[in-house]
Symmetry: C2
Subunit: 197 residues, 2 copies
């Protein structure tokens, strides 16, 4: 299977990925962010852990040859290709409160957290069990005092990142809903899966 699937702007998709399969996530138009969370499909209490990943990879920025690790200290995926190179685990998925507290937005706003939850709910995953997401193509800058700023992504049309699954997974991806993380525009994300069996 190598069918390319589009995640429409401000939405998300969840799907299974078998051990050994390769997932490619593409920024088709440039300057878009995708939040990704991972769960062990055999036991969804095991999930991607920002803290364990930073521990074992000894880096805030995570790219080619790094692994994403679980809360039980198991490797979940290996990053085997990354044409942009700026991804991290620092900030939480945008939520309605992100827009209320940080952007003074009134009323409904789509968010990555809502899109993760809506797509993961059919897999039996609760809202409160959604972990810190891996922020693909997100351009989070920090200085040596730790001050954080979010700049438009440096990704250009066609930039991609490839993950090889180290265990059977449930994956959820979003096309980010936040104005600030994608330079004021809303764009889709694409992905495809290459299966080994």
């Amino acid at each position: 299977m190598k069918e390319k699937i589009t995640i429409a702007k401000q939405s998300g998709k969840a799907f299974k990925l078998k051990k050994g399969d390769i997932l490619t996530v593409i920024d088709p138009k440039g300057q878009q962010v995708s939040d990704m969370v991972l769960f062990n499909s055999a036991d969804t209490k095991e999930k991607v852990s920002s803290g364990k990943t930073l521990d074992f990879e000894e880096s805030i920025l995570i790219t080619t040859s790094n692994y994403l690790w679980s809360n039980r200290s198991n490797k979940m995926v290996e990053i085997i290709k990354d044409t942009n190179g700026r991804n991290d685990f620092l900030l939480a998925p945008c939520s309605k409160e992100t827009f209320e507290v940080m952007y003074n937005h009134k009323g409904y706003h789509p968010s990555c957290l809502e899109n993760l939850y809506k797509n993961l709910q059919p897999f039996g995953i609760d809202f409160d069990d959604i972990p810190n997401a891996f922020n693909i193509f997100m351009n989070v800058q920090f200085d040596l005092e730790g001050k954080i700023s979010v700049l438009p992504p440096t990704s250009v049309a066609g930039d991609l990142i490839q993950f090889e699954a180290c265990m059977d997974l449930i994956v959820c991806l979003t096309a980010c809903s936040a104005e600030d993380s994608n330079g004021g525009s809303f764009k889709p994300i694409e992905y495809f899966i290459e299966t080994v069996n």
Copy 2:
């Protein structure tokens, strides 16, 4: 109540903190780290979130006047005093795998994750539900490329950090078990609670 309680080296303690109470955490000998996790005592699915805290506080380093936020975007505690000033959420609590993978240690080793779990289990909190901890007095250095290194804490004997509770909480604190985070020694941590009612 202002009884000072000692957390013995390589151990932990969990306790309740009421809204408005002030918790003071002390490094009595200097160069020791304490991992702290927080849960809403009325609903332990709500817990401290590294991602939400970095979002709303816009900083990797968290100190006086910063809040620690929950996964539901609520304020859990405010830091009202911090005489050392180096605390973060980057690395996960040390676990047996930390010592196996990173230090090539064979056999049993005490760890913050074990001590968090042992002390939180009586409150009905599962191993997999322990979030990234707030690393008090931990000296995690990072460069602009994101490379992480753990240096001995800069805390000296008597350094302290004070938290005012914004909701009723279950708190768990450790006296860190890892050689590398406390300069090769194992030391206690102290705390006391000032109640408003």
